[in-house]
């Protein structure tokens, strides 16, 4: 009597490695993924079925659309409206950063130029070095020509 015979064969105690940890991990993974995954999926299905996406239309005469009305999906519109800044503000923020950096480069170049000129001409407030007093100089070694 062997294992896989059609009449009931010998009962076997099959020795294999434990799958306890594997099944526990997979069960926990499924649980935690579905814990928030299923409500999110239901919400998105609700939005797609009952609210639906926007339709493309020509901009009516004399009407300036709000910045969130350039998106199609209702959730993207909501995010653009309540969570993100308007793109005009983003643009202005980028331009402000560029402006600050441009002014910084300009000032740094001017400082280098001023430093160069003051060092060269010597008539500015920088590059003054302390020199010892001329009365302290001892000229006795050069006083006679035979030293």
């Amino acid at each position: 009597p062997v294992r896989h015979s059609s009449s009931h064969g010998k009962r076997m105690f099959i020795i294999k490695a434990t799958s306890f940890y594997d099944t526990r991990f997979l069960n926990l993974l499924r649980f935690y993924v579905f814990l928030t995954g299923i409500p999110v999926a239901l919400f998105i299905t609700y939005v797609n079925i009952f609210i639906g996406e926007a339709e493309l239309a020509e901009i009516p005469e004399g009407y300036i659309p709000e910045y969130w009305e350039y998106y199609k999906h209702p959730i993207s519109r909501w995010i653009a409206r309540y969570l993100l800044d308007p793109p005009e503000k983003d643009y202005e923020k980028q331009m402000a950063l560029l402006d600050i950096e441009a002014k910084k480069t300009e000032l740094r170049l001017m400082e280098l130029e001023a430093r160069r000129l003051m060092r060269h001409r010597g008539d500015g407030p920088w590059y003054h070095y302390e020199t010892p007093d001329k009365n302290l100089v001892d000229n006795s070694m050069k006083s006679t020509p035979d030293n």
Binding site: A54, E55, L56, K72, R77
Partner: protein, 180 residues
């Protein structure tokens, strides 16, 4: 649900399948397939889709394509005016994306024409080929300041302007050589 494109913009020529005469009395299995498909799959799906559309039609809202204002070009910016550079660069990139899409659409039309015509594509698709040649030439060799193709992925407005300047210098040199 993605919508079909605008069929009026580029009309496909009419099909030329011949009308066939019935020879046998055996019913055409294709019609049986079609009716089965219609009742089993098509009708329920259409019903659900129309129910969904009725729910969505209660509060409609629209989205628009953004129109950007034209700002001064890179050639009209003073040197060192980084804000002007930034705006001209943004405008140049938008224009480049538009031109890439134009080239892509013309290329698709040529491909569709070739697929349709089959063996007589070289005669019947001359118009589409001409259009594609013109559009790619305009895209690669900028005559206006906007289109460009040879700059690659890292091209920006400044490299395009430099390329145009070099091209004009060479043209002037060639003219001077010719006139000598």
């Amino acid at each position: 649900m993605p919508e079909d494109r605008d069929w009026e913009a580029y009309k496909v020529p009419p099909t030329r399948t011949p009308v066939s005469e019935r020879i046998t009395s055996v019913p055409n299995p294709v019609t049986i397939f079609q009716t089965v498909f219609n009742y089993v799959i098509d009708a329920p799906v259409t019903f659900v889709r129309e129910w969904i559309e009725r729910q969505q039609a209660k509060n409609k809202f629209y989205y628009y394509h953004q129109k950007f204002r034209r700002v001064p070009d890179l050639s009209e910016c003073l040197e060192g005016d980084y804000l002007c550079f930034f705006e001209a660069e943004a405008q140049w990139r938008r224009d480049r994306m538009v031109d890439q899409e134009i080239v892509e659409i013309v290329r698709e039309r040529l491909g569709a024409c070739k697929q349709r015509e089959g063996p007589n594509q070289f005669q019947n698709c001359a118009k589409e080929m001409e259009q594609l040649a013109q559009v790619t030439k305009a895209y690669q060799a900028p005559s206006t300041f906007l289109l460009d193709g040879d700059l690659g992925v890292h091209g920006n407005a400044r490299t395009c302007l430099m390329k145009q300047k070099h091209r004009m210098i060479e043209e002037r040199k060639a003219q001077a050589n010719q006139s000598q």
